[in-house]
Every structure is written in structure tokens, then in C-alpha cells.
């Protein structure tokens, strides 16, 4: 539905987007995720028409968008600052796109009332934006952008100005809203938790390029590269060298730990001698005073180097032989128990060899 083909954009020496291509399906909740300066907002502005690409093309329903100014594109944006017009009432704000589309007065009034009911703020029609709370402004901004049914809704970090509690509530509302209206959402955020919670698919961006595009669960469990592994969730990344490998299993050597087995990545073929990294989520590591290695498990001994008590879980930094540090996470699920081990305790850790995931 939206095709972005080989788009590049530079500002002076700074390359904001480098040959970016992606396809977004109709009805999708698609997220552009990345640290600040990764090019996600630049891409959004190119789609909205506030900026022009240096090269490449953007097609909506097969038709090129580049030649159209923002007002001619069936694409609306929800801005980070909401951008509600301060000199217009809530109703006038929502009526704005309908007015621009030269709709009749009666029709406008009808649609505005309808939309205000949809966002559950029917009594705010005559208020000015200044009199609204952050969450209310947010809902009005979305209502305004959706009122004349764009093909595509762009959301530029719309929840970043809200506090944590409200943000969670708005996330649920956004998911339901998107299901209800069925309009394609392109969502920009730097918050990986938000991206995982909301999206059908996520494009992780780094330094103007796309690192990986996948469903949230795939992205989390099977990162394609170190950047994605590191950016999404907590992750142990251990540098390794491939010793030998076949379709199912790869033997790798990790400095300080020696030779262990890992599951091969079906997407990438590793040859012996290749440099790679083992990515290992902390919650997939077993931790106890002493462990018995099960088949297909890697087992190591070490001692607790540091620990962080986080309420629901405790994070232990385990120092293995030769100073290798591994982060493991344990749920504090027994009543009253705050910690299992103390700094300095000798412990053993183990992980199933298919819990680790190899990346180049």
C-alpha cells in the first residue's frame, strides 16, 4: 500500500536516510523504531510531504507522492506537540480538515459531533486546547487527523509528552482505535517497549538505514544483528568465532568460556572462522547455587559480581572465569523473598543452546 523505494536524504554532510526501502501493507500498525538521529522522523516527514527526498521514490497505492504538496496527500499526521491550533476551539480544530475539503456546514457539524463522541469528549467542543489535559489534547489531535478518513495516519512520538500511567492507557486506546477504523498507522518512536506493545510490524532504524523489519516477537527473539539485539530489551552479547557448523547446530568459541554449541540462524549461513556474536536474553538463563546440566545446555560456574533488586525481578551480574560478565534475571516470585544471592556468592548458570541466537 505504501512503498518506499531506495529513498535517501542528506542535510549537508549528515546522511539522515541512506537508500531506505520498505513496504507497508494496508491496515497495518507499522512502527519506525530507533534512537534519536536514526532517520525515523525524517522518513515520516518525507511521507507527510514536509520535506523532499534527494533520491528514491514514495508510492501510495501505486501512485507517486513526491510531486504532491502536503495538503494534496491523503496522509495526516499526529504531531509530537499535538499542534492543536490554539486560537480555535476543539470543534473548530476538528472541523479544519473538513473545511479545507469544502464540506457543507451541516455535514461538518455532524462529523465533528460524531468524532467527539468516538473519543469520548463530547462536552469539550467549545473548549480551547489550552483548557485540555495532555491526554485530552492527544485524543483531539488524533480525532482531527482521522476525521476525514486519510489513507494513512502518521504518528510522531505522540505519547512522549504523557506520564507513564497515562501512556499505557493511551497505548491500549490506540490499538483499539486502529482496529476500529482500519486505517494504516505509521508510528514513530524511540521507546522499544511502546513499539513492541503496539505494532504489527516494526522497522528498527540505525544511522539512516533499516536494521531489521519484523513482527515484535520475532524481533525480540531473533535479532538479525547486534544493534537490534542491543536496542530491543536487555541482552548479553558475547563475541565469538565459528568453529564448525551444520544446518542445525554451530560450534563456537567464546573468549574465556571455551567451546560451546549454539543454534544456527536459518537466515544466515556461518562458515567456520567467521566472527559472530551470541545474543542471550537474561531471562533465559537459569541461575542457582548448583545446577545439573541437562542435555543441550551450556553450564558455567561463577560468582555474583553485582546485583540490582527491581521489585518483581532481581538482575544479577555474574562473573565467570576469566572475567566474562553475564547478566541473568530471576523472578522474585516467592512471598517475602527479596533476593536469592548476595554479592560474592558462588553460583552456577546454564542456558539451553537454542536460547542463544547467533548474529554476525
Amino acid at each position: 500500500m505504501l512503498e518506499i523505494n531506495a529513498v535517501s536524504r542528506s542535510f549537508g554532510d549528515f546522511v539522515a536516510l541512506n537508500n531506505v526501502s520498505l513496504h507497508i501493507q494496508a491496515g497495518e500498525f507499522f512502527t519506525l523504531l530507533g534512537p534519536s538521529g536514526c532517520g525515523k522522523t525524517t522518513l515520516l516527514r518525507l511521507i507527510a510531504g514536509f520535506d523532499q527526498a534527494d533520491s528514491g521514490q514514495i508510492l501510495l497505492d501505486g501512485k507517486p507522492l513526491c510531486a504532491l504538496p502536503p495538503e494534496k496527500r491523503p496522509v495526516h499526521t499526529v504531531f509530537q506537540s499535538y499542534a492543536l491550533f490554539p486560537h480555535m476551539t476543539v470543534a473548530e480544530n476538528i472541523a479544519f480538515p473538513l473545511r479545507m475539503a469544502k464540506m457543507s456546514k451541516a455535514e461538518i457539524a455532524h462529523r465533528v459531533t460524531e468524532v467527539l463522541n468516538d473519543v469520548r469528549l463530547p462536552d469539550k467542543a467549545k473548549h480551547y486546547p489550552d483548557a485540555l489535559s495532555g491526554g485530552q489534547k492527544q485524543r483531539i489531535a488524533i480525532a482531527r487527523a482521522l476525521v476525514n478518513r486519510p489513507r494513512l495516519l502518521l504518528l510522531d512520538e505522540p505519547l512522549s509528552a504523557l506520564d507513564a500511567k497515562l501512556r499505557e492507557q493511551m497505548q491500549i486506546e490506540l490499538i483499539n482505535l486502529q482496529k476500529e477504523v482500519g486505517i494504516t498507522f505509521v508510528y514513530v518512536t524511540h521507546d522499544q517497549g511502546e513499539a513492541l506493545a503496539l505494532s504489527h510490524r516494526i522497522a528498527v532504524m540505525n544511522k539512516g538505514e533499516i536494521s531489521q523489519i519484523d513482527e515484535p516477537s520475532v524481533l525480540y527473539s531473533y535479532p538479525d544483528n547486534r544493534f537490534v539485539a542491543d536496542f530491543i530489551g536487555q541482552c548479553n552479547i558475547l563475541d565469538a568465532k565459528v568453529l564448525s557448523g551444520n544446518e542445525q547446530k554451530v560450534n563456537i568459541a567464546i573468549a574465556g568460556l571455551g567451546e560451546i554449541a549454539a543454534t544456527a540462524n536459518p537466515e544466515i549461513t556461518f562458515k567456520s572462522g567467521d566472527n559472530c556474536a551470541l545474543t542471550l536474553r537474561p531471562e533465559k538463563i537459569r541461575l542457582a547455587a548448583s545446577l545439573e546440566a541437562e542435555p543441550d545446555e551450556a553450564l558455567f560456574s561463577g560468582k555474583v559480581h553485582d546485583m540490582l533488586y527491581l521489585g518483581d525481578v532481581t538482575v544479577y551480574i555474574i562473573e565467570l572465569a576469566n572475567g566474562v560478565l553475564i547478566e541473568a534475571m530471576l523472578a522474585n516470585d516467592a512471598p517475602g523473598r527479596t533476593r536469592l544471592f548476595d554479592t560474592g556468592d558462588a553460583v552456577q548458570i546454564a542456558w539451553r543452546i537454542d536460547a542463544g541466537h547467533l548474529v554476525p
Binding site: 526501502s21 523532499q52 533520491s55 508510492l59 507517486p64 510531486a67 520475532v218
Partner: protein
């Protein structure tokens, strides 16, 4: 388990570039159309007169004032008639340079006194309750909005020989056995009025600076053992320098070019460079020399503005205008 994008097809981009340039061109055109009317107006009524003045400073004065023609035709020979005489006249006697230095001195003194008077007031306003600050600031601005001549006139009344101030002062001098003094038509009167007229220009930028200071820095300094004087001298004062620079420029430049205050309060002793410029253009009608003096003043102003811009950049914060 995982799905991939179909390979991106090669895009047709042949029409993309020209259209984009067209949009940019329309944007540029709009921008230029907006800048054009004010730009042209100011070229005509600000830049052009200044250039004509530069031109005039190299011409001979006309027989009945004004300017002599800048060329003459003799035996069908076309000759330019320019001279450096007007510029040399500046150095011929010490009168004009002396007057220039005296004016610079007056302006400098005015700036210093303004700083001394503005600092406590600006600090007081900055440290007052937030609710009163706007009112206190308005009280500073209000007299500044009353007519310039009215403010000078007020001092003419105060300094007049029949005024209570002069009479009172002369009771004191008589008691001490000194000659009676006259306040009117003196450099004291000129500088007092210069300070009076320009004081708000120092208070406002200084306040704008002081208001932004973080009071926790003073708490921290005190906590670390500084006394009240050290708190001021080591914390508040260095941070307020950008405000003082901005205020100094706003006071110094207009003070330097003033002519109405010396004209009405200065008598013959108190005249400044502005009076001579006015005299050359209005009374003796020696425009070329008047232009020379004006250009010298313009040069000093430009230097000061550039200096202020540089100071403002290095100081990083507000530079007044």
C-alpha cells in the same frame, strides 16, 4: 516463521527531480516576494542616504550651502571634482577631535553611572516576588515612554536658576563661603539628563539577565563558605556581564549621538559632537564637513555594534536587541 520483504522494485524516478525543483522554486519566490517591499524601502530610505553621505564627504560645499557639483565641464573636458579637504579638516585643529573625545567621555561616564544605578534596581526587581516583578518593570519603562523632550524639559525646570535645587545649593555654598554655582548650562546638567534618558536601556537587559540566574548557585556558594560579598563578586557579577555589555551598547551609542540634551541644557561648555553635526547641516550648511563628522560617528557605532555582537556570541546569552 519469519517473512521478508519482496525485493524492492527499481523505481521510476525520471519525473521526480524536476517536480521537486518546481515546488522549491515556488517556495523561494514566495520568500523573495515577502522580503522585497521592506528590503527595497530600506535600501531607498536607509542604505541609499548613507551612501550619498559618503559620496558627499568628498565633495566641495556649495556656494550657498549644500553641495557643489561633483564634476565640471571646461573646454569640453569633463573633470571630476572631488576632494579630501573635508576629511583633512578633521585633523587641522584640535577642536573637532577634542570634541569627539569629549563626547566619547560623556557617553562613557553616562554608561558607567547608568550601570551603577541600574544594577541595584535590576537586582532588586529580579529578587522580588514573581507577582510584583512585572509591575516593577513597568514602572521602569513608563517614564521612558513619555516624550523625550518632556524628559529633558523636566530637568530644565529642576536645574533652572530659580529652582529650589539651585537656590538650596547656593544657601549651602554661601554658608561655606564659596562662589554661588549654576547648575543650568553645565556638563553636570548634560550628564545627569543623559543618565536619566538612557537609564531604562541599562535596567532592562540587566534585569533580563539577572532574572535567569539560578538562586541555588548562591545557596551552594554560601554552603561552601562564601560570604555575601564573595557570593556577589564571584557568582552574580560574572554571570551578569552579558547583560551589562548589552545595556552598555544600548546606552553608549545613543548617548554619543545626542544633540537635544546639550542643546537645551549644556550651554556653550556642554556641547557634544551631535551639536556640531546639526550645526553643519542646519546652520552653517557645510554639508561635506557635516557628512565627514556623521561618518566618523557611524564608524564608531558600527565598531561598537560589531564588538557587541562578538561579545554577545562569546558570552552566549542575550545581547539586548
Amino acid at each position: 516463521m519469519r517473512y521478508r520483504l519482496p525485493g524492492a522494485s527499481t523505481p521510476a524516478t525520471w519525473f521526480h527531480k524536476p517536480v521537486q525543483t518546481l515546488i522549491n522554486r515556488a517556495e523561494r519566490l514566495r520568500n523573495n516576494l515577502m522580503a522585497l517591499p521592506p528590503g527595497l524601502y530600506l535600501l531607498l530610505f536607509f542604505a541609499a542616504p548613507s551612501l550619498m553621505m559618503l559620496f558627499a564627504s568628498f565633495r566641495y560645499p556649495g556656494e550657498y550651502g549644500g553641495l557643489a557639483p561633483w564634476y565640471y565641464v571646461e573646454d569640453e573636458q569633463f573633470s571630476l571634482d572631488f576632494t579630501l579637504e573635508n576629511w583633512l579638516r578633521l585633523f587641522e585643529s584640535s577642536i573637532y577631535l577634542g570634541l569627539l573625545f569629549k563626547s566619547l567621555g560623556y557617553a562613557l561616564l553616562t554608561t558607567l553611572i547608568c550601570t551603577l544605578m541600574a544594577y541595584p534596581l535590576a537586582l532588586m526587581i529580579a529578587r522580588s516576588n514573581k507577582r510584583f516583578r512585572d509591575l516593577l518593570l513597568l514602572l521602569v519603562i513608563l517614564p521612558f515612554w513619555s516624550n523625550f523632550l518632556v524628559r529633558i524639559y523636566a530637568w530644565m525646570i529642576i536645574f533652572s536658576p530659580q529652582g529650589a535645587l539651585t537656590i538650596g545649593l547656593n544657601h549651602v555654598t554661601a554658608a561655606l563661603g564659596i562662589e554661588p554655582i549654576s547648575l543650568m548650562f553645565s556638563s553636570t546638567a548634560v550628564i545627569t539628563c543623559l543618565v536619566y534618558v538612557h537609564l531604562p536601556f541599562m535596567i532592562l537587559p540587566l534585569y533580563a539577565n539577572l532574572e535567569k540566574h539560578d538562586s541555588r548557585l548562591l545557596d551552594a556558594a554560601q554552603d561552601l563558605g562564601a560570604n555575601r560579598f564573595q557570593c556577589f563578586w564571584l557568582i552574580t557579577w560574572p554571570q551578569s556581564l552579558p547583560g551589562i555589555y548589552a545595556g552598555a551598547i544600548l546606552v553608549f551609542i545613543p548617548s554619543l549621538g545626542i544633540f537635544a540634551i546639550p542643546d537645551l541644557l549644556g550651554g556653550t561648555n556642554g556641547i557634544m559632537i551631535g551639536n556640531v553635526i546639526k550645526q553643519q547641516f542646519v546652520e552653517s550648511r557645510d554639508w561635506p564637513f557635516g557628512s565627514v563628522l556623521s561618518l566618523v560617528l557611524t564608524g564608531i557605532t558600527l565598531l561598537l555594534v560589531l564588538l557587541a555582537a562578538k561579545l554577545g556570541r562569546t558570552a552566549g546569552t542575550d545581547n539586548g536587541k
